[in-house]
């Protein structure tokens, strides 16, 4: 497997399409983490994230001729499939409205109440990380994507814009709006509970 370390994603995909199993495994191990985390942050469920990851790479196996290097990178192609899968799942699960996570809200409120400097307090504490996660999940999908890609997956604006098929300016504005919504949501939680 070490023989593929210097190969680009394109090259690995070509080899995998030619039937080289090691190339497929290398590509999977290189990219599955990002795809899984993207789905996890977007859906909030490890089961769904697992399902999405599986479907993304299954599509790669089934649709051997679908990728066009002229239209973007392999990573972008994989994210594109993952995004479609995630949005489909969100649409599917929309009828099931999630109940407010009281424990997480309570943790957040406790933290915020004991912090003097900022109403948001220290969000890095273990118990409040979950609150941030819940707040991210409650964002509308458009804003959630921007926050997940740029803040949680550390992609550049241009890269995120490419994946979302929108201009860079749109990504910036969605990210800014998403962050503002997150702050608002976290503040509302704190006020309600305190």
């Amino acid at each position: 497997m070490t023989g593929f370390l210097n190969h680009t994603d394109d090259s690995l995909l070509r080899l995998a399409n030619g039937g080289q199993e090691d190339a497929f495994v290398e590509l999977y191990r290189r990219r599955q983490l990002q795809i899984y985390k993207f789905a996890l942050h977007m859906c909030g469920s490890s089961t769904v994230a697992e399902e999405v990851t599986q479907e993304v790479f299954m599509s790669l196996i089934r649709n051997t001729g679908g990728f066009d290097a002229a239209r973007g990178s392999v990573a972008g192609y994989l994210y594109g499939i993952a995004r479609k899968q995630v949005l489909r799942m969100l649409e599917r699960d929309r009828q099931y409205v999630a109940m407010e996570d009281d424990t997480a809200a309570s943790n957040l409120a406790t933290t915020l109440a004991t912090t003097e400097e900022s109403p948001l307090g220290d969000l890095t504490r273990t118990e409040t990380v979950e609150s941030v996660r819940q707040a991210v999940l409650s964002l509308p999908p458009n804003y959630r994507e921007a926050v997940v890609l740029c803040d949680l997956q550390e992609l550049g604006y241009a890269e995120a814009a490419g994946l979302l098929a929108v201009p860079v300016g749109t990504v910036r504005s969605r990210l800014s709006r998403g962050r503002a919504m997150l702050v608002g949501k976290l503040k509302v939680h704190s006020r309600c509970i305190v």
């Binding site: 495994v25 983490l33 899984y36 890095t124 409040t128 990380v129 941030v132 962050r179």
Partner: protein, 198 residues
């Protein structure tokens, strides 16, 4: 948004990012994908081999038909020459003055001569009862052909040597001669079977 709020939020997002840094799909996903990958490879392999054979077969059949058509185009001219009626006397090139002074038996009218030349009794199809044909032999690598499929039978002439490729014996003395054959062509234009006729 206050600067303090944004900093706190970014710190919270960073903490969430770090918490899930090593989170990935379980090994069972990789196993499942590998199983599917191998299954696909196994299924694709015979397909590609079958396709290669199919293309070889098509190329061979196309070449066969082309040769047959080329040979068929040449045959009629040769047959007419061989069967020209010898009884018809050729007109002599005699000067007009000589004919007036010593009249001879009238020469055959040119129109009649032309008419006779057109006659090609040998071009009449031979009665089928006189023909002896081999069984239909499948053309190698051609797609399958069942009794329910429709096709067309085309009479062609092939080099006698081509019988060898179907495992039939060939008389060495007549190897340069051609042989008649019926080629069964499917609705898709691909030759499926052949029988040699004598």
């Amino acid at each position: 948004m206050k600067p303090g709020d944004e900093e706190a939020l970014l710190a919270g997002l960073r903490a969430l990012r770090e918490k899930t840094a090593e989170t990935g799909a379980p090994a069972s996903v990789e196993t499942l994908l590998l199983t599917e990958f191998r299954r696909r490879q196994l299924r694709n392999e015979p397909n590609s081999r079958r396709k290669a054979f199919l293309w070889i077969g098509l190329a061979a059949a196309a070449a066969l038909v082309l040769v047959a058509v080329a040979l068929a185009d040449h045959q009629p001219t040769a047959v007419v020459k061989v069967q020209a009626p010898p009884a018809v006397p050729q007109p002599e090139m005699v000067p007009r003055e000589t004919v007036q002074r010593a009249p001879q038996a009238p020469a055959p009218a040119p129109a009649r001569q032309a008419k006779r030349r057109v006659q090609r009794p040998q071009s009449k199809p031979a009665p089928l009862a006189q023909e002896v044909a081999t069984e239909f032999l499948a053309i190698p690598y051609a797609p399958g052909f069942t009794t329910e499929d429709r096709g067309q039978l085309v009479r062609v002439r092939l080099p006698r040597e081509s019988m060898r490729s179907f495992g039939l014996p060939v008389n060495q003395d007549r190897i340069i001669q051609s042989v008649k054959a019926d080629v069964l062509i499917g609705e898709d234009g691909i030759a499926r079977a052949i029988r040699f006729v004598q």
